[in-house]
Symmetry: D2
Subunit: 346 residues, 4 copies
Amino acid sequence: MSLTTERGQSAQDIFYERVGADHLAPLWRHPEMNMMKEPRPRALPHLWRYETIRDTMMEAGRVVTAAEAERRVLLLVNPGLDAKAPVGSLAGGVQMVMPGEVAPAHRHTPTALRFVLESKGGAFTAVGGERAAMEEGDFIITPSGQWHDHSNEGDAPVLWLDGVDVPMVRFFEAVFADNYPEPLHPLTRDEGDALARYGNGLLPVNWKPAGHHSPLFRYPYARSREALSRLQKAEAPDACTGHKLRYINPATGGDAIPTMAAFLSLLPGGLQTARYRSTESAIYVVAEGRGRSVIGDVTLDWGPRDIFVVPSWTWASHAPQGDAVLFNYSDRAAQQKLGLWREERG
Amino acid sequence: MSLTTERGQSAQDIFYERVGADHLAPLWRHPEMNMMKEPRPRALPHLWRYETIRDTMMEAGRVVTAAEAERRVLLLVNPGLDAKAPVGSLAGGVQMVMPGEVAPAHRHTPTALRFVLESKGGAFTAVGGERAAMEEGDFIITPSGQWHDHSNEGDAPVLWLDGVDVPMVRFFEAVFADNYPEPLHPLTRDEGDALARYGNGLLPVNWKPAGHHSPLFRYPYARSREALSRLQKAEAPDACTGHKLRYINPATGGDAIPTMAAFLSLLPGGLQTARYRSTESAIYVVAEGRGRSVIGDVTLDWGPRDIFVVPSWTWASHAPQGDAVLFNYSDRAAQQKLGLWREERG
Amino acid sequence: MSLTTERGQSAQDIFYERVGADHLAPLWRHPEMNMMKEPRPRALPHLWRYETIRDTMMEAGRVVTAAEAERRVLLLVNPGLDAKAPVGSLAGGVQMVMPGEVAPAHRHTPTALRFVLESKGGAFTAVGGERAAMEEGDFIITPSGQWHDHSNEGDAPVLWLDGVDVPMVRFFEAVFADNYPEPLHPLTRDEGDALARYGNGLLPVNWKPAGHHSPLFRYPYARSREALSRLQKAEAPDACTGHKLRYINPATGGDAIPTMAAFLSLLPGGLQTARYRSTESAIYVVAEGRGRSVIGDVTLDWGPRDIFVVPSWTWASHAPQGDAVLFNYSDRAAQQKLGLWREERG
Amino acid sequence: MSLTTERGQSAQDIFYERVGADHLAPLWRHPEMNMMKEPRPRALPHLWRYETIRDTMMEAGRVVTAAEAERRVLLLVNPGLDAKAPVGSLAGGVQMVMPGEVAPAHRHTPTALRFVLESKGGAFTAVGGERAAMEEGDFIITPSGQWHDHSNEGDAPVLWLDGVDVPMVRFFEAVFADNYPEPLHPLTRDEGDALARYGNGLLPVNWKPAGHHSPLFRYPYARSREALSRLQKAEAPDACTGHKLRYINPATGGDAIPTMAAFLSLLPGGLQTARYRSTESAIYVVAEGRGRSVIGDVTLDWGPRDIFVVPSWTWASHAPQGDAVLFNYSDRAAQQKLGLWREERG
């Protein structure tokens, strides 16, 4: 197989050249198309200290006006990735709205979730004509295709973690987006309407879902935290995951968002979790407490509001100092629907 | 076709006689097997005045001991039916537990639902190791196969409406029942555990359903009523059903009980509902307010805690005096699963 | 508790009299409302010899005209039941259409299934504008609400087993029925359309289901039998049920009919099945072969086309002579949806 | 906002430099993270002539041994993409197995589908212990996690289109793969077992799914084509899509593969389809006939076995010469599960 032409090119060379011109590629020449024995994630375990994020955000507040920024978001950038994202399949960032500012109304097919990091009151997210207060620890979703905006009528900045499925929706080339002509979308229902209507174990008798997402869009921390405390009293923690709750769509029991799973877990003081890994790419934020995690071969110490990443198929274990509460979101919701999700207990 | 034998019997007579002996029956001789153009329910519209029920119950309390009665239940008997039931497919009754009494622990494949009519505090239903307070307006389920008991540690009798799917489960010849060896089943979880765990828009991450029923077993009236009030503020009432909510299983979005649907509806003062009928057989109880219903050709005036029946495929309309709240349960959950449920707006 | 009034009536007597007048009934006086430890079915194990049915049908053909009968159906009557039905929840019968006759078009909310017992060709069932040949062993459904008729263009009578959910639909008081103005409903699609469209592992891309039933309405015996033969070659039979297949709705994987499950099973020669019972009430018909069954304490010998009943929660075991094929239908589809179905292996 | 430091760097420059070092990125500096009004696919409409593919493959057969290639696959490379793939979310290629050759057994979490382009008999795909003949037009799946191999016992090469969800599974970093120690996995069931068992409108009574894919793994062209012909006779074609069938999982009614939808459509001669676009990225192959498509602003003429791409959200219309049959696969199955799929009729 080493016939050489006059011009010094081998028959293989000529062949491979022509093949490329025909927009074909021999599989055996593209080892990158081969499959690996198991995932080798490109994302690295990494932690973002909240203090750093906050200081940077405050400085950004001096350097850039809200109008210039449109939305004051600092994207989390994984050191292992080229993309401006914490993991390959999901985006993440920290967003701030200063007193009196507005993050203007728009809508898009990607869905965003918010976990409120710092709020002194007066901050709101509005979704589809209803606004909800943003209090610390609240989990809030702005579903695919729904008009939403944020505003701050209080005296102090509000900051939250943004999780967005943009990389996934972009991967499928299915992103649509629109800006609303006014800064704020009109309000058509009272605050608390969705929570009262869908969050009490009932549904309106002729209700039809407006999409794949939960009709609840705010999950108040007070209620979520109460659920965790009850679990803690009632049973022993799971050796790998502690007491872990999944945010659901109460009209289906499925994930609150079709693409991103979200969880709140309590790691009781004294627990050193057993090693665990799964194929999901996860972004964690510390809701309460301090502790240390070993993720792959990296050790990370964390405190309130710090953010860290557990990449796909990477062994992780956690040791809280005293009780700790972690929020996390991941691509597990999508992976389970597609039959891809897998976990292993060490 | 009128050949007559010597003995005076026609050939048909002889034939029909022999057929019966062979355990066969000609369809054309059994018009009762023929199908009707539309349902002609045997159950009649009927109202039970709460005062009557309560007086009777109190007298029963003098005439019969709790031990003799095992459970102090007055069954609702529809005047149109032979069975001791308010409608053909479901049973119903009013149960009372006197201070210090216990309705002892048992379990059975039929499921029961409770709507609390009168409670001064101190009354409990325990299901599967967790007990819940019974407060007025609470909706409580004791699901198929789960140990349950009732007790009254207060100073006043507690009374509630019982809805049970016994006729349905008996129709399928699938009734199993057991008594627990002790009056009360041991408690293994704190009060409020299920509501905290399953009623806040989250589910434990590895949770698996224990059956077809909701993992919530108490739906507190305060929360249900709040949901109704919010609906009332947010939108116009449906012309036929007012503001109507369905009790759901938050892990599926389906009915809280697989066989019986349950609803809470608010009829705003001034509304005269349009005529409506469906194939479900429904038992209503007045949670709040007064009003008048026309059901078929019967007019019924109702006040707090009165109970009335709307039979299958019977036109009904309602006129509250001021805002009224009605609870109702029906066989709609089963009918929808079996593809039988149908409704018509007049 | 034995106070006696002047008129000789006890206080209890007076009380119970008044209670009845108020359309109430004390649960403790109605032991029939109490629940049993386990089902005690009223239906008895029973076998109908096909020869008897056929002879009777032929005689009926002489005694009654088709017009008089409208449909020539001999109902199967369980000796343990008052109703003209083989089991409590389902009706069953054998229907015959003579050459040149028509069973005229009608529709009704109850669903019927047919298992063809005897056909020499030329017989048809039409459903919703498409007709299908009725060949021996075919399983055919006439779903809830669909116009259907039967006709016989051949030279010999066609006979089939009818299974109908009339008792169930009547229990829910949800029976609607209509006669079509003409004997036969017009045909709008070619024979075989549904089987080609829905029976080959594909579905039209924008197809929406017309109800809860399978879009397939004929399951040809040749295909079902081939499936059984393959199972027999590929694996060992189940100790209780042999090789057993369930007729499904290929658009959902659920039962072909929402209320009635239907099965075809092959009992290999030499197998003596282990004892088995479940809460379903089942009607069996012998598609091929001979054998003996012990059902409860009754022993039944069966041959081709004989029909027999296995009541709810009754131990049954079967011993075929050589390979035997049994068709059966039951209320299992409904019971599973309602969370009632239970089985036990002996 | 243009303060300049002594070293000539603006405060903004300094800020942005430091932000990057902290692994943060201001959203407002990354317009590529912004969302577009609608998808602008990177993939281009493109057609691969089968003759070119086949000639290239034959030449590859001379230049590279089967052992060197392991699998003789020519990947389809979209001119608009860097990746060796026809569209962004899915891979595609043409695979050939020469007489006497084997594509050795392996398994992987990505799922592959095959559409057989050229076969003179004797070629087989084996999946999980059962092998199936590969005949022209057959649709065959090798599901996630199942051992599979291909072999050719005939006298002529067999060629097929491969569709694989590798880019999607890789996007989620969930690829696992294994090679089997022998070239061929042992056969444990007869040929045709799955089709008989799952493809006839029945399911084994205690069957449990082994994953998210269809238990059918071969959909013979004879059956699929018959379904198309019947549709053509029975109804008018859809103005945009002609007569179009979706390959389903008969145990759920969902797509045969959880990630990739597959379709077979018949465009009747004389039809000029109306413009249509959707968010799916689709790869078409011509099963029968000739025609012309306008995709975006590109016109493509196609004949038997030619392959072409319709990118996301790109208007396409088709004009067959005489009846034509097209097979296509796309990421629609994934998009619908994730709530992303959208279509528009022109």
